[in-house]
Symmetry: C2
Subunit: 336 residues, 2 copies
C-alpha cells in the first residue's frame, strides 16, 4: 500500500511506493559513475597542476605551511562575478539584478583519482574547514547574503571534471527555497518551541530505524520522508544555526559521519554519482533559535521526471528504513 510521508521540517510530501520498484529497473544495474582506471595524475586536468598560477588563482593551505592538501580557486567559468555595483531593475515581467557574487572551487586534494569516499575522513574534514574559512572571508563582503556549499560527484550529479572538488557560491539574494525552509522552522519554534532539526534528530536517535552513522557530536540518517532511496541528512548534535561559527570538533564529527555515508554508498552502490550540499543560515540574519546547520547527501540513482517537476513532490520506490538497514549493514565493515 503506498504511503504519503511528510518531512517535519520542510513540510515536503513524498510518495513512498515500493510497487514502483517492480518496474524493470534495479540497483544492481547501476554503472559506476567514473571510469575505474583514473590516473593519480592527469596533465590535462586543471586541478592536477602542482602549483597555482599567480593572479589567476587564490590558494588556502590546510594546514598552513604544509604541502597543499586542499586548495580554493576561483571558478574559471563563474556563474557570478564580484565586480560592479548592485543594481536592481523592475519593469513588468523584466525583473533583474546584477549577478554579483563569488563562485569558487575547493580542490579536495592533489590526487586525481582519490575521491573522498575512498580517502580517510580527514579529506572531508579539511574540505569542510575550507568551506568555513572561505565563508568567513566572503561574509565580509556585505553585499553577499547567502552562501551555498556543495559537491557534485559524477556526471549524473552535474560534475564536469573527475578530479575531486567541491564548490561554493555566494549570492546577493536569499534563495526563495531557503526562505521557505527558514519560515517553516520559525513556525515550528513559535508553535512548539525549540529547533525542529534538533527534534527530528532526537526522534531518529531514539527510534534508530533510519540511523546510518552516529558519534558523540554528529549523526546521519535516511530521512523519514526521503525524496529518493538514498536521501540522507548529516547533522551536528549541538544546536547551532551558523556553520561559520561551528567548532572544529563538531566539524570533524560531521566529517566522520559524512565519510561513513559516502563510504557505504561507494561500496553498496558501486561508486554512484551523488551530491552533497551544506546548509547554514543566511549571512547576517541567523535564525539562531530555530535554524541548524546540516549536510544533505543524495545519491543520484533516479531521474527527476514530469511529476516531480510539476508538483515538487517525489516518488520514492524504496522504504527509507530499508535503505538505512542496507547502509548500516555495509558499515559493519567500516575500518575503525
Amino acid at each position: 500500500m503506498p504511503q504519503l510521508r511528510q518531512n517535519l521540517a520542510t513540510k515536503q510530501w513524498v510518495v513512498i511506493s515500493t510497487e514502483r520498484a517492480r518496474r524493470p529497473h534495479s540497483l544492481s544495474e547501476l554503472q559506476p559513475c567514473q571510469p575505474p582506471d583514473l590516473p593519480s595524475y592527469d596533465p590535462r586536468c586543471p586541478f592536477c597542476a602542482p602549483e597555482e598560477r599567480p593572479g589567476e588563482v587564490e590558494v588556502l593551505r590546510l594546514p598552513e605551511n604544509g604541502p597543499w592538501q586542499v586548495r580554493i580557486v576561483r571558478n574559471r567559468y563563474p556563474a557570478l562575478a564580484p565586480e560592479g555595483d548592485l543594481e536592481r531593475h523592475f519593469s513588468g515581467v523584466e525583473r533583474w539584478m546584477t549577478g554579483l557574487g563569488y563562485h569558487e572551487i575547493v580542490i579536495e586534494g592533489p590526487r586525481h583519482d582519490l575521491a573522498p569516499a575512498r580517502a580517510d575522513s580527514d579529506m572531508l574534514y579539511l574540505t569542510l574547514l575550507a568551506f568555513q574559512r572561505r565563508g568567513l572571508m566572503l561574509e565580509q563582503d556585505r553585499r553577499m547574503v547567502y552562501i551555498q556549499y556543495f559537491k557534485n560527484h559524477g556526471a549524473a550529479a552535474g560534475a564536469s571534471l573527475d578530479h575531486p572538488h567541491s564548490q561554493l557560491i555566494a549570492l546577493p539574494v536569499v534563495p526563495g527555497t531557503r526562505r521557505q525552509r527558514a519560515e517553516e522552522a520559525r513556525r515550528y519554534c513559535d508553535e512548539r518551541g525549540g529547533c525542529v532539526f534538533c527534534a527530528m534528530l532526537a526522534d531518529e536517535l531514539r527510534l534508530q530505524s533510519r540511523l546510518v552513522a552516529v558519534n558523540e557530536s554528529a549523526a546521519a540518517f535516511v530521512l523519514y520522508a526521503a525524496l529518493s532511496p538514498f536521501h540522507i541528512w548529516v547533522l551536528p548534535r549541538r544546536h547551532l544555526a551558523n556553520f561559520l561559527e561551528a567548532e572544529p570538533e563538531d566539524i570533524r564529527a560531521v566529517a566522520v559521519c559524512l565519510h561513513q555515508v559516502l563510504w557505504a554508498l561507494d561500496r553498496g552502490l558501486n561508486n554512484p554519482a551523488y551530491n552533497y550540499v551544506l546548509h547554514s543560515c543566511p549571512l547576517h540574519d541567523c535564525g539562531r533559535e530555530y535554524l541548524h546547520w546540516y549536510i544533505t547527501v543524495v545519491a543520484r540513482i533516479s531521474t527527476m521526471a514530469g511529476f516531480e517537476m510539476g508538483t515538487g513532490m517525489y516518488i520514492n520506490p524504496t522504504l527509507p528504513e530499508e535503505s538505512a538497514a542496507f547502509l548500516a549493514h555495509i558499515l559493519a565493515d567500516y575500518p575503525s
Copy 2:
C-alpha cells in the same frame, strides 16, 4: 556580466550566466534521446498491444466509436492506488497518510515510433482532451484534491518506455509548491489586481523578444527568467484557472502552440529528452480570479547539480532571448 532574473509569477530567481556556456560542453554534442530506428510496432511493448485486456485496462476512444487514437490505462506500477480509506497519522518525525490516488497512462497513439513532435498537432490535441476527460472523472472522487498531468520523453526525462505516452496522477494533497505558486498569484491579485499570468502574457506579446509561437487563442514563450535554456510556457490567452472547464477551441489552440514548440525542439536539438507538465488550479478550490492553466515545457539538456538542489535556484548559461530566436528561426519552416 551575469544577471539574476526573477520570474514575476513564481518569484524564483535564476542566474543567467553566458560565461558558463564557455565550459567544455555544447549543444551540438547532444545525442538524440531515442534510437532513431524504432519500429512502428514492437510486440514486446505493452502500449503497442492492439486491444486492451479486459479488467486490466480502462479505455477512452477519441473520437468515440472510431479506431483508437488515444487510450488511457491504469499504470501497472502505480505510485498511488485508489483503494482504502484516507488515514492520517502524526507522531513526532513520523507523519504519514494513506497513499490514495490514481496513476494513469495516456497512450498517445497506436504507433510505437510516432512521437508527438513528428505527428501533426491533432495528437497533442487528443492527448489534452484525454487529460480533461479523465480529470473530470477523477474529480468525482472527492478524496482527490489535485491532478498533475505530465509527459516524460526520453530516458533523461524519466521515461522508461519509448512508446509515446503521457501520464496523470491524482493526489489527496495539494503539493506545497503548487500552494506557494497559488499564494504568490493571490498576492499579486491583491496588490495589483488581476491575474499575474495574464499580465506576463500581455508583456510577452508586446515585447515579442521571447515569443516562440502565437495564434488567436494561445501563445508560447521562453520565460524571461528561464531556469534552463529551453524553459517554455504555453498559455491559453483567455483567462481561466481550471483546465477542466477549458473549451475545446482553446485546448486546440494550446495544442497547436505546444506542437510548434516540440517540433522546433525536435529539429533544433536533435530529438532531445523533454518534459511537459500541465498546471491547473487545485480541484474544488479554484482561485478563479488569480490562477491560469498553462503548460510548462523543459528540454532536459542540462543536469541539476548541488547548487540547484541546495538553493532551488538554477544557473542558465543561455540568454532566453537567444533561445527564443533560435526556435523562432526554426519555426520559419513549420508546415502551415
